[in-house]
């Protein structure tokens, strides 16, 4: 019974914790511009994150080593350092976008300017990183994030022509008003949003934080293979909601308020309130995850003590990194940069950085010295190889596409 509860809780928090500001914004933008014609990318991306999250979780459970440990150990200090810089830059950018997302969600609820919320949100996030237990962060924000199911309810309530949605989803080509350049650019962005590297830093480090052992592999897998795809369904529901309400009237999403609009149209104030709660939970939870991920990757590269399973004083350098990252994120946002723009760039640069993270995981998950009998099977390796190629293609295409399409215009 207790075991069942643990599994259910894990799955629920995996669903609620799946969506972050990158998924929210990118899916809403894509829905409003491309309808469901890019839904396949979400499906491909979600399967990809499942494959690699399972691998990194398995490595963490069997060997006790989190992802960035492996990066330096396999790639050596020089390539590892270049990797660290790139990964940290992307994760910091994502962290900044998440803090901005929290501020935007609070602005939508109160009409108090987002810039005034930024320091409040930043300090609150830091306090959570400083004081709150790891599993509590995961559970509270994961469960609150389930509020985003309201998007699925809204889509259902809007009574769409399901056949039409399916027709869009099954014809992977740009609609008349868009071209292949922007279509490909947003395909890469969606892929980056679904597979963000921080997710595996966080997932694997979380496994070490919670002292996973090989006995926990089944629970970990159920979280990944049930929770993530259902979380991915929320992404699709967000895209569908903007496809139904905004695409037909020519509205292209460029604010968080527009993301919430279809829910208000479909379900009124109660739905809107739930959606805003979902925005808050998803961005706040992801802000904690990305903030921790910055600390995890730096500490693991240098071998410092990290983690929330020890007192802050025992992981002083790790906590210093968390503090400085939060200050940096707040400072960047206070330059009045638009958090939605930060988000859009963060998902594209995530796509660029993907191979840096996923290649070492794939190699180590095959090393019997680490994994013993738990090395990758044929399925994991087959999928892992396919995704390695996909991730390389997305990574190399991202910057040229960004330049050619002027970031999707």
């Amino acid at each position: 019974m207790k075991k069942l509860f643990a599994v259910a809780l894990g799955v629920l928090t995996a669903i609620g914790g799946f969506v972050d500001i990158g998924d929210l914004v990118t899916n809403a933008v894509v829905g409003s511009r491309f309808g469901m014609s890019l839904a396949w990318v979400v499906v491909v991306g979600v399967l990809g994150i499942c494959v690699f999250a399972e691998m990194s979780g398995r490595v963490a459970a069997v060997s006790g080593r989190a992802t960035f440990d492996l990066v330096r150990e396999r790639l050596g200090p020089r390539v590892g350092l270049a990797n660290l810089f790139a990964s940290m830059a992307v994760t910091l950018l994502t962290f900044t976008a998440e803090i901005g997302g929290v501020a935007l969600a609070l602005e939508l609820a109160t009409s108090v300017n987002e810039l005034l919320w930024v320091p409040v949100a930043g300090v609150a996030i830091w306090l959570v990183l400083w004081r709150v237990r790891f599993s509590e962060v995961e559970n509270i924000f994961g469960l609150m994030g389930l509020a985003l199911i309201v998007f699925a309810v809204a889509v259902w309530q809007l009574g769409p022509d399901w056949g039409d949605l399916w027709a869009q989803a099954s014809s992977p080509k740009p609609p008349a008003e868009e071209n292949w350049g922007t279509y490909s650019y947003y395909a890469v962005a969606l892929f980056g949003a679904a597979m963000t590297p921080y997710e595996v830093f966080f997932f694997s480090s979380g496994g070490v934080e919670e002292h996973w052992k090989t006995d926990d592999l089944a629970t970990m897998r159920s979280n990944v293979f049930v929770g993530f795809p259902l979380g991915g369904m929320l992404s699709l529901a967000i895209a569908a909601s903007t496809t139904l309400v905004l695409l037909p009237v020519g509205v292209q999403v460029d604010t968080l308020g527009q993301v919430a609009l279809p829910v208000a149209v479909a379900l009124g104030k109660i739905g809107l309130a739930v959606a805003l709660l979902g925005f808050f939970a998803a961005t706040f939870g992801a802000a904690c995850e990305t903030g921790l991920s910055v600390g995890y990757s730096l500490a693991q590269y240098f071998g410092w003590q990290w983690g929330k399973f020890v007192r802050p004083r025992q992981a002083a350098r790790f906590h210093l990194v968390l503090l400085l990252s939060t200050i940096l994120g707040i400072a960047v946002l206070l330059t009045t940069v638009d958090p939605i723009k930060v988000t859009e760039y963060s998902v594209v640069f995530s796509a660029v950085a993907l191979p840096l993270t996923y290649f070492p995981i794939l190699v180590v998950a095959n090393d019997p010295d680490y994994m013993g009998e738990h090395v990758n099977g044929r399925l994991a390796n087959g999928l892992g190889t396919v995704y390695l190629v996909l991730v390389l293609v997305a990574s190399m295409a991202a910057i040229p596409l960004m330049l050619v399409t002027k970031a999707g215009q």
Binding site: R74, L75, V363, N376, G384, T385, L388, V389
Partner: protein, 117 residues
């Protein structure tokens, strides 16, 4: 705890990447890794680790990522690429090392003793 003043110490990074040449001066490649084997003496609870040989690769193509150790380690694509990059990698027992110039990072060896990995 610390080694006696007389003992000559080095860092393993001085050896990694050092150039390897045959007695006739022919360049063979670079030290890619060092194989360590348990020695006779015991240090603490662990037997001491002695340098048993060198893995020499003809190019600076990075680490072999462990793919030199086992025939079957997957995934196939990565194994094939790494093996291809390091197809000329050889093992050389330490006994075949004639001379080690630490400052020049250059090792002279008996090239006849090179063996496949």
């Amino acid at each position: 705890m610390s080694p006696s003043e007389a003992a000559v110490t080095h860092r393993i990074s001085d050896l990694l990447g050092a150039s390897v040449a045959a007695r006739d001066g022919r360049e063979i490649g670079h030290v890619n890794d060092l194989r360590l084997a348990p020695g006779q003496a015991v240090r603490g609870v662990h037997v001491e680790l002695v340098v048993e040989g060198l893995i020499v690769s003809d190019r600076h193509a990075g680490s072999m990522l462990g793919y030199d150790r086992r025939a079957e380690q997957g995934p196939w694509l990565v194994r094939a690429v790494v093996r291809r990059l390091h197809r000329n990698a050889r093992y050389l027992p330490w006994s075949a090392v004639d001379d080690m110039a630490w400052t020049d990072r250059r090792i002279t060896v008996d090239a006849d003793k090179l063996m496949p990995l």
